[in-house]
Amino acid sequence: MKAHSPTRWRFKRPSVIPGFGMALGFTLTWLTLLILIPLSGLAVRSSALGWEKFWSIALDPRTLNALRISFGSAFIAAIVNAVFGIILAWVLVRYRFPGKRIIDAMVDLPFALPTAVAGIALTTLYAPNGWIGQFLTPLGIKIAFTPAGIVVALIFVGLPFVVRTVQPVMEEIDKEVEEAAATLGANRFQTIFRVLLPGLAPAVLTGFALAFARGVGEYGSVIFIAGNLPFKSEIAPLLIIIKLEEYNYAAATGIAAIMLIISFAMLLVINLIQSWSRRRYGYGA
């Protein structure tokens, strides 16, 4: 048959469904048009800077602070989302209760909502005179217009990523696994940390990576709640907008390129850990 002829080189054994050539062609075209060309535009435009200028922008204390704030708050938000996303997914997978479908649908809302609306709504809630803010202010807790506000906004936009990646994997875990752990004498703590979580680790990591990546690039929701004070609550995407506002396209794309490089490196590491843990513990490996 065709597939076995020695002159034909294949990436993968053909599936029963035909169309590998077409699918690969489509993939490459699509990737090129939508991702590779815009990204190479970024590289070309920032290369107009030259190395020296590029480094002076990269090492400017204001850029460093903005990057620290962006990546730091995205990291914290992604961790919070990983923890609470697992709990939320668990509740949705394992329990039946009235209104479950509504809660399940609500998880996706941050996907659908324009991020600016999310930002304005959260700011309204957490501002010193807002519904929640008015109770926090007397306690000396300030959320809106501080870095804490950024984290709150990023938790909001990132939550569905963890829930939606963990949920299907959880559904695959048979209840018998927990029961078996219990009959073998594991306590609940051991069941969770030694039986259930290791298997979920790859999915959790994927969700974490997605939420983190989304948080790093998030602009719309953050801009309203951050307060945008340089060195305190100024995120890197805002710094890019500021450079654009000065018609300094090269510097803007320069910062964007720096963000891209850091993000890519971090996502690569997360992916490596993930594939390692999938081989080690994962379900369906």
């Binding site: 050539g21 077409m22 489509f26 945008n228 340089p230 907008i241 018609y247």
Partner: protein, 341 residues
């Protein structure tokens, strides 16, 4: 075989793409004018566009549809640079129109001479919006740096209005200190430390002050301040006009490159000229912009504007000098914000 299939697919995709783009352009048969403007002119141009469309219909028999696009002044200018088909631009800062002229060549470098009064049909100024009863007793610029006062202003790096705020404060401090630039810088640096939030635009800053209840005083365009008062009731806020401020000139220009391509030059010119007509001036004054021909406007509207001493951008050597000096990369704003951390 497979490469052939791939090329066929690519060709189909390209054809589909070009067909979609080609079919958008000739969708409008009537004259359509696109006015790319900045944020706080929304209400003004809503009124003005209706008036102009009626007038144009009466004079020429043609119907004209005017589309208005609003947003941050700099962002709007960038859209035009990147190809937004604006017939006219009515922006917050001269520098933004200069940027379009320089980047695209679609606007001549001497655009300021094309319409009367340096192509500025109406002006405004910077005033203070304070909470009802003025609890902190804010009367003038010096009061803004008192210990317990919080000032709301947007970020001059992203907002045209904020640049006027910044320069107004600078001009006041400079004249109050007998022309001493160092003292002016000291004052503005101190003022910035009283700012708890830097919004990206004038509307955002208004929201922060009005809805979120943050701060004691909002530095705002005069028209924006009156609009807030009108929208939210004078029982909550009041306007304090300082004795000294700056004349804010939002200029207008025709985007020659676009009107010539679209064949809309005549109507675009009529549109901007109508801003200078008696009716146009009346509408501007109604929306709290100071008309350049006050005698044409409703006297009751003019009476709402307190008299004050105004610095102008020329005191700073024009925007070409002021923009890089104060707001450029590494400029005064960047310098005085760094030690504030």
């Amino acid at each position: 075989m497979q490469t052939q299939r791939l090329t066929r697919l690519l060709a189909a995709a390209v054809m589909a793409g070009s067909f979609a783009i080609g079919s958008i352009a000739p969708a409008f048969a009537d004259q359509t004018l696109l006015n790319v403007s900045y944020d706080p002119t929304r209400e003004l141009y809503k009124d003005f566009n209706a008036a102009f469309a009626a007038k144009w219909q009466k004079d020429s028999g043609e119907t004209v549809t005017i589309q208005a696009s609003h947003g941050g002044s700099g962002a709007q200018a960038r859209s035009v640079i990147d190809g937004l088909d604006a017939d006219v631009v009515t922006l917050a800062l001269e520098g933004d129109i200069d940027a379009i002229a320089k980047a695209t060549g679609k606007i001549p470098a001497d655009w300021k001479t094309k319409f009367p009064n340096n192509s500025t049909p109406y002006t405004s100024t910077i005033v203070f919006l304070v909470r009802k009863g003025n609890p902190k007793g804010i009367k003038d610029w010096g009061d803004l740096v008192k210990d317990d006062v919080q000032v709301i202003t947007p970020n001059p790096k992203t907002s045209g209005g904020a640049r006027w705020n910044f320069l107004a404060a600078w001009a006041w401090a400079k004249q109050a200190n007998g022309g001493d630039e160092a003292k002016a810088q000291e004052y503005v640096a101190k003022l910035l430390q009283h700012v708890p939030v830097l919004d990206t635009g004038a509307r955002g800053a208004t929201t922060t002050f009005v809805q979120r209840g943050l701060g004691d005083v909002l530095l705002a365009w005069e028209n924006e301040a009156y609009l807030s008062l009108e929208e939210l009731g004078p029982d909550q806020f009041e306007i304090v006009t300082p004795a000294f401020s700056i004349r804010a000139d939002p200029p207008v220009a025709i985007v020659d490159g676009n009107v010539d391509k679209k064949g809309t030059r005549k109507v675009a010119e009529a549109y901007l000229n109508y801003l200078y007509s008696d009716e146009g001036q009346k509408i501007a004054a109604k929306h709290y912009y100071r008309p350049t021909k006050p005698e044409a406007a409703d006297p009751a509207d003019i009476a709402r504007f307190p008299k004050l001493t105004l610095a102008t951008i020329d005191d700073f050597g024009g925007w070409k000098e002021a923009q890089p000096k104060f707001f450029g990369d590494g400029g005064v704003f960047d310098q005085i914000y760094k030690p504030a951390q």
